[in-house]
């Protein structure tokens, strides 16, 4: 697997699109939530309350959530796009076919891609963990080590969310193959198609007289999103759960469990689809 990974890195380290996406991700991840501070720093009057609220998002342990939420969107846009590029480029340039002709088995070709995805997920998680810890240490008044270790399940959640998102990108690329179409499906499914499907499901259940709001949480990309959901929504969801017995967001243990299940399912479906297809 290490040799497959090394070969894969050789293939893409000189690809300017992939390099650019990597640079953007590395440059934006540590600073994206810090930019909010800059926007509202000179706010006066009633808006200054926003400035005060924003300053709290950098404190430990809340920074894990806010930084995780922002970084998971960057993973979705930059690293997901990178995975799409890595696969669909091989199809369009017909190098995938040539790799197989030169001697790779389908399994080796697929494993090489998976190894890079795992590597990207590990790097992104390290970057997320380091940047969150540093931002938290700088901003938290009266910082001590115990605060840093508080809520560090967030690192596991971020890793599962990242690898789930990237395997979803791999699945889309394997199934749709063409760069433009894959990109459209990759962005449209979680942002447009799945919300519509969730809405239709709830509507059907209400019409059938069996309303269940929690069913919408079990849609695949919603489950992955719930691993690193916007903290305010999490607080709101916990409130609703206590007072109305209704939870628009998975609890963390369920989100982690379901996230692992969907990640495995994305990987399995991607492999099965790749295994059956002509090259």
């Amino acid at each position: 697997m290490l040799q497959l990974f090394k070969t894969e890195i050789k293939k893409f380290k000189d690809n300017s699109t992939i390099k650019l996406l990597g640079i953007f991700f590395i440059a934006l991840t540590p600073f994206v939530i810090l930019t909010l501070k800059g926007i509202f720093k000179d706010a006066t009057g009633p808006i200054s309350i926003i400035n005060k609220a924003i300053s709290e998002i950098y404190d430990l342990p809340m920074v894990w959530e806010y930084q995780g939420y922002a970084a998971s969107w960057l993973v979705f846009f930059f690293l997901g796009f990178m995975v799409l590029q890595m696969f669909t480029n091989e199809v369009s340039q017909r190098t995938m076919r040539q790799n197989i002709i030169f001697g790779y088995t389908k399994k080796e070709f697929f494993t090489a891609k998976v190894s890079v995805i795992i590597f990207l997920a590990i790097c992104a998680t390290i970057l997320y963990a380091l940047s969150s810890a540093i931002i938290g240490m700088i901003h938290t008044p009266g910082f001590d080590l115990e605060l840093l270790l508080d809520n560090n399940w967030a690192i596991l959640r971020f890793f599962i969310s990242t690898i789930g998102t990237l395997f979803f990108a791999l699945l889309v690329a394997v199934v749709f193959r063409r760069g433009g179409l894959s990109m459209f499906i990759y962005f449209a499914y979680p942002l447009i198609l799945e919300p519509i499907m969730r809405g239709l499901t709830i509507w059907a259940l209400i019409r059938g007289g069996k309303p269940s709001w929690t069913i919408m949480n079990y849609f695949p990309m919603n489950t992955i999103e719930d691993l690193m959901v916007f903290p305010f929504i999490r607080i709101f969801s916990d409130f609703l759960n206590i007072h109305e017995n209704m939870s628009p967001v998975h609890s963390y243990p369920i989100a982690i469990g379901m996230g692992i299940v969907y990640t495995a399912l994305f990987l399995f479906l991607a492999w099965k689809s790749f295994e059956k297809s002509d090259i």
Binding site: T7, S16, Q93, T95, N99, I100, F102, G103, D278, I279
Partner: protein
């Protein structure tokens, strides 16, 4: 010893049968040409035997099954157009091939010299001309010192100079003792390079064997005489005369072995008191053989 055994190989795309019960054996050390017009099933055959297309039915076996599913490691192949990473140079592209083939003993510099690309080894693949891409493809097929090399239309789209250069390289590869399989729709190319040929048309194997036997070098005779019946009797009694037929009232056409000369036919007639009024020889061309082998389909078309 056969390096490749193909048994009843069939490939269908919906209702279209691209390959129909193909049987073929390729022996080690041969330079085998797969010859056929565009769309005849050559690339489909290569795609299946290289494992990138799934066969509908039938089977094939490389090297008597000695290497299992790792057989491609012993084969160097390029299918259709050369495909490499466009943003990488020749050296880096060949290093990737080397990694895939798990081969470490190749001298990439020497390979690039063999295909006359050493001077452009640091240029990106996308800056290459078609001829240079084709030459890089040939270099890539030689990585890992494979037992079999496969080329699909290696001179397609090249200018005459490029064609000559690629053919020279192919001949050198063939001379090194490797088994070469080459798909082409160019008779001339197959005749010049290959020792054996399989002719495929509409997914059917039309003929296979040594190039010299499949493409005969028979001579066609056009003869007329004042004693046509006597001439026909004399010619028909000779074993070297084939396919005797009367074209017109006093003209006969027949095929004869290339060892027999027109002078000998003249002497034969003279010895039998037959006066020839016309004697014309025509060399049968390779194209005639090819058209004959694929005749029923041409009629259909």
């Amino acid at each position: 010893m056969p390096v490749l055994q193909i048994n009843n190989l069939t490939k269908r795309y919906g209702k279209l049968t691209a390959l129909d019960n193909l049987n073929l054996t390729i022996e080690a050390g041969n330079i085998y040409g797969l010859l056929g017009p565009n769309g005849s099933g050559k690339t489909t055959t290569l795609g299946i035997i290289l494992g990138i297309l799934a066969e509908t039915s039938g089977s094939f076996e490389w090297f008597d099954g000695e290497y299992g599913d790792k057989y491609r490691m012993r084969i160097g192949a390029i299918l259709e157009t050369p495909n490499f990473y466009p943003y990488l140079n020749a050296q880096k592209n060949l290093e990737i091939v080397q990694d895939i083939k798990q081969s470490s003993g190749d001298d990439i510099e020497a390979l690039l010299t063999t295909v006359n690309l050493a001077h452009r080894k640091d240029s990106k693949f996308r800056t290459y001309s078609l001829g240079m891409k084709q030459r890089l493809a040939i270099a890539a097929t030689l990585i890992g010192s494979p037992d079999v090399v496969i080329f699909d239309e290696p001179t397609n789209g090249l200018d005459p100079e490029g064609i000559a250069e690629v053919r020279n390289i192919l001949r050198r590869v063939a001379d090194s003792g490797k088994t070469v399989i080459m798909a082409s729709h160019l008779l001339d190319e197959v005749e010049k390079i290959c020792s054996h040929v399989a002719i495929i048309k509409d997914g059917h194997l039309r003929a296979t064997g040594e190039v010299g036997k499949i493409f005969t070098d028979d001579t066609t005779l056009i003869i007329s005489s004042n004693n046509l019946d006597g001439l026909k009797d004399v010619l028909a009694s000779r074993s070297y005369i084939k396919d005797l037929s009367q074209l017109d009232n006093n003209i006969v056409e027949c095929q004869m072995n290339s060892e027999i000369t027109a002078e000998e036919i003249c002497r034969l007639a003279f010895d039998n008191n037959i006066m020839l009024t016309r004697l014309e020889t025509r060399k049968r061309r390779l194209e005639d053989d090819f058209l004959e082998l694929t005749k029923d389909n041409i009629t259909k078309n």
